[in-house]
Point group: C2
Chain length 136, copies 2
């Protein structure tokens, strides 16, 4: 069986790049610089279902993505979370938070109304992220 | 400089046990089976500040705590998160969620009113957790 991205995750995000284990996607909400990492393995729900090698690889990918997003966005705080109460497919949120953003200091999930990027802004951000994450 | 637990984390939790890197504490809210892991190193704020060995150790400790809490509580879903928007000292939430709990399917932070454990219930749960986490 092969990996298929959950349709809701696909609908809510734009593709950025694939790392070794995870595909990286930009949440389509211009209020928050917000990436998700989705390990490209079928049927994963919990972090505890990863084998040790996958777990360490995901940890390194989270670390790399968090450094890049935090640096590009001059984040005041990074939020990293695997929740999955609504979409069960394992995915890890990496969000650059700023003092005074739309949800500060609360968590971002379920707050207010999504503000989709316009294509140009999304493409610019995704290009920058891709350059930093893949060295391409 | 030595590690000192943030006073707000200390006030909101009860001690469970110390692992190699992290001290484990029970959030004093009987609505949610909710642990936090606090790496016992001074001045940590972001996960990215851990060195690679610490990062891997924390990943293993999160994995172990998540397995134990999820199993004991028959969780429907585990939530794992490092936020730190309110308390900056690095801490990782590991929460056993149940379909229909007080915040389901949303996140637990900031929802409703904390319901502290009575001492007997807290002691029983902490005893069980300690047995599983330390083998003591």
């Amino acid at each position: 069986m092969s990996f298929v991205l959950d349709p809701r995750l696909e609908a809510d995000t734009r593709p950025v790049c694939d790392l070794t284990l995870s595909t990286v996607r930009l949440m389509n909400d211009a209020r928050f610089p917000w990436l998700i990492l989705v390990p490209m393995q079928p049927n994963l729900v919990e972090l505890t279902e990863l084998d040790p090698d996958q777990r360490h690889l995901l940890t390194e990918e989270i670390d790399g993505v968090s450094r890049v997003l935090g640096s590009i966005m001059s984040a005041d705080k990074m939020n990293v979370a695997a929740l999955g109460n609504m979409v069960r497919q394992l995915h890890v949120h990496v969000i650059a938070r700023h003092d005074g953003d739309h949800a500060w200091p609360g968590p971002v999930w379920g707050v207010g109304t999504v503000e989709p990027y316009d294509d140009r802004a999304a493409d610019a951000l995704i290009g920058t992220l891709r350059n930093h994450l893949t060295g391409a």
